[in-house]
């Protein structure tokens, strides 16, 4: 056969000897490719087999290495230099954009924080104002140091005039909140008048002796104000009443007035 001839001419000595095994048994040269392949697989080691084995080992090794490096990072292996440069450029553009965005968002956050803070400050300020005004207007209960003035009226002669004087003296001495008998809060609109049956009426509430006037302010100043010569105390004593003045570290005025919105007065335009 021509194939066998070529093999003989091209192949080495040992190879031919190897083929002599099956040849001697069946005495037929493998004709088809399949038979030849099977014969090749049954061959004993030869130089040709060894060379092919080494090269195939190298091929298998390289192929596996390549496949693995490919699966490790399939995106950029085999990419050309210019592709990589374009990729890097687009990435750095994207990161620039992101940084800009971050800066903007931080700016926004800062301004929002400032806004919140100023709102918070304004809120606290107005709450504080509301508290102050509430205490002054008598719409909020108040607590603090002050004096408790107890006035008895044995002669039945102590009346609205004396109380008004006393309140006036307390205010003069810096009283910030005044309450009478725990029932009535004395505010700017408070009016006091005598009642025929005894006692006084304060803002529509009947109040009888003994009158207990509680005032929040500096205790020594308040107590001093009430005791000036020919002041409140002297006047009550002259009317055969008694006055007891206690300086108290902690008073609590719980009576409040309902806030009445002004019907006629309105804020005058300020310059």
């Amino acid at each position: 056969m021509s194939a066998q001839d070529e093999r003989d001419s091209a192949g080495e000595g040992p190879e031919r000897e190897l083929h002599s095994g099956p040849d001697s048994e069946g005495h037929t040269e493998p004709e088809s490719g399949a038979e030849r392949l099977a014969a090749g697989l049954r061959q004993r080691p030869s130089r040709g087999q060894l060379a092919a084995g080494v090269l195939l080992a190298a091929l298998g090794f390289a192929a596996v290495v390549q496949v693995q490096s490919n699966t490790q990072d399939a995106t950029y292996v085999g990419a050309r230099q210019d592709e990589l440069i374009a990729l890097i450029n687009s990435l750095s553009l994207a990161s620039d954009r992101s940084e800009n965005e971050i800066a903007q968002l931080q700016e926004t956050r800062r301004s929002l924080l400032d806004d919140t803070e100023s709102r918070q400050t304004a809120l606290e300020r107005s709450e504080q104002l509301a508290d102050e005004r509430g205490i002054l207007a008598g719409t909020l209960a108040a607590a603090g140091p002050g004096v408790r003035v107890t006035v008895t009226d044995a002669g039945g002669a102590v009346g609205a005039n004396n109380l008004v004087n006393g309140i006036q003296e307390l205010r003069d001495a810096g009283a910030e909140a005044i309450e009478i008998n725990g029932q009535v809060r004395v505010v700017a609109q408070t009016a006091i008048r005598d009642l025929d049956e005894g006692g006084v009426q304060i803002d529509g509430t009947r109040v009888e002796a003994p009158y207990v006037i509680e005032a929040i302010g500096s205790p020594p100043t308040l107590s001093g104000g009430l005791q000036i010569a020919r002041g409140f105390r002297d006047e009550v004593l002259r009317l055969e009443g008694t006055v007891r003045i206690e300086e108290v570290d902690s008073l609590e005025l719980t009576a409040v007035v309902d806030p009445v919105p002004p019907e006629y007065a309105e804020p005058a335009p300020t310059e």
Partner: protein, 110 residues
């Protein structure tokens, strides 16, 4: 038999060692593998034809790999590496197909 054993041994070595491909070799390894595949299929066809020669196989294997790598290197230097790689792959692919077709005719007579 040794050839098959060698192939299996090479694959196992690659799987076990898991080496990193050196940066300088990265563009050439895939093309070298394809060129070597071409040589292997050519050798198998020659074996089935009964004209296998180990010397021819070794020389064709090595020269295939070297020439493929050289073409890619040249293409990289000329700035057409990508296109040349594609071209080499196409040519080798056609040869592999024709070789496999011949092998198929030998083995299955179809």
């Amino acid at each position: 038999m040794i050839a098959v054993l060698g192939l299996v041994l090479g694959v196992l070595l690659g799987l076990v060692l898991q080496p990193d491909v050196p940066i300088g070799l990265q563009p050439y390894l895939p093309i070298a593998v394809v060129a070597a595949l071409d040589a292997v299929f050519g050798a198998l066809r020659a074996f089935l034809d009964g004209i296998f020669d180990d010397k021819v196989f070794v020389v064709s294997f090595v020269s295939n790999v070297l020439i493929a790598a050289l073409i890619v290197y040249l293409g990289d230097q000329l700035g057409v590496g990508g296109q040349l790689t594609t071209g080499v792959i196409v040519v080798l692919g056609i040869r592999i197909f024709s070789n496999v077709a011949a092998i198929r005719r030998h083995l299955f007579h179809a």
